[in-house]
Subunit: 244 residues, 2 copies
């Protein structure tokens, strides 16, 4: 936690946030917080700033007077992901939030394991805290990535993708087996929002890649090494990030 | 497992490899292997090629006649890493092997948790299979990354680093808090082997960065977002990879 984020309803009218969960424990045990100490704080989906510890109760509750006036960094990429196993997905979610993903569309590509769609991870009560952990790690953003589940890949691409990604100038599909197909150019730092599509462990089918190419997606490979979905996603986001 | 690797002593004089572990289970259950079927195979620290399944025994043993004639991809980067917690490190190790790390030096930077050095993960019997899993995922390399443990960071940098990394043309230190310091240029694809130094979760100390800068390391940041060590390592390797 490089920045403590509070939900709007945890902050009272006087601007005091009160927590008693893992954030309180982190403030006390890791940051060695004491009354009067200043922390980096922010509001989930809101502004960032600082907070001053005003009380640490015997029961573990920590009170922080917050001053939030700074705009957070905006997300720069939407990710269309054929999800890996829930265990891998669970590790990936906080990293996606840290890296600046704005919207995550989980799609039912052919080689996605069918039992993924029953995973408890798909409940907002489970995934939201993981995403907020990622934002607190990254320390510069507050917007919780939006998660959409679209099991019918063809229907999503043909009927919904254009409207959803209207502000995206670049569209790239990760294709580890790209062999002679069109390749995306190196991104310019002036390029706009990106939509990145990452396939399942077994890869996209030819028909799936064709659907995306018909919607203007350019193929992008990460070289001859075959990466796990989670490694490939982080690696591609790193390579495609517009600024560093 | 996108390529099955066999140890030299698992291959007999007639070129037949026999296994009955997770690789055998993968061949039977995931690849639905049958006698006569051809697989991508290779020898650990040796050549790559193909193998033909010659027998699947009732007890699960799989025999494969191998033909290994192709040179594997060579590692392109050495990593000096102030290790994260063992649990995170364990997840990172296969990814490092997949991504082409040749040598991994685990160093005792000041903010490394002291109990890391007692981790069972540091036993070769534990980490070697994880590295080979990573090579089998990547499918194009066979060389097991060498792991060195150097708890005295200053001594390692001052006395050993130059000799160890004599063939490295580029030296880069990841520094998330780089603020106005020298920055590494974008790598050219013609650049030689790289040495990358990645600090602990809490960051390098100023003295540690100074030690590395004195040895020709240029600072490199991944932007304003603060990444976890494992995310940062994968992201930096992706950005610094010479070819894709």
């Amino acid at each position: 936690m490089n920045r403590i984020l509070f939900e709007r309803d945890e902050i009272d009218d006087a601007g005091v946030a009160r927590v008693r969960d893992a954030r309180a424990a982190h403030i006390v045990n890791v940051l060695h917080g004491t009354v009067g100490q200043t922390l980096k704080t922010g509001e989930v989906n809101g502004l960032l700033g600082t907070g001053e510890i005003t009380a640490i109760a015997a029961d573990g509750e920590v009170a922080v007077q917050v001053h939030h006036t700074d705009a957070p960094l905006a997300p720069w990429v939407d990710l269309i992901l054929a999800p890996p196993r829930p265990r891998v997905m669970k590790r990936l979610l906080p990293q996606l939030a840290t890296l600046g993903v704005g919207r995550l569309v989980l799609v039912g590509a052919q080689k996605v394991e069918k039992d993924f769609w029953g995973a408890t991870l798909l409940k907002e009560a489970i995934y939201r805290p993981l995403l907020i952990d990622g934002l607190m790690q990254g320390a510069v953003a507050s917007r919780v990535p939006e998660i959409l589940v679209r099991r019918n890949f063809r229907k999503f691409v043909q009927n919904e993708l254009d409207a959803l990604c209207a502000d995206a100038a670049r569209r790239i599909v990760a294709h580890p087996y790209a062999d002679g197909g069109a390749r995306a150019a190196e991104p310019s730092r002036a390029d706009g929002r990106l939509v990145l599509a990452v396939g399942p462990e077994g890869g996209w089918t030819d028909a799936e890649v064709a659907l995306l190419e018909a919607k203007g997606f350019a193929r992008r490979s990460l070289g001859p090494r075959i990466l796990r979905t989670d490694t490939a996603t982080v690696a591609l986001l790193a390579r495609l990030a517009p600024a560093d």
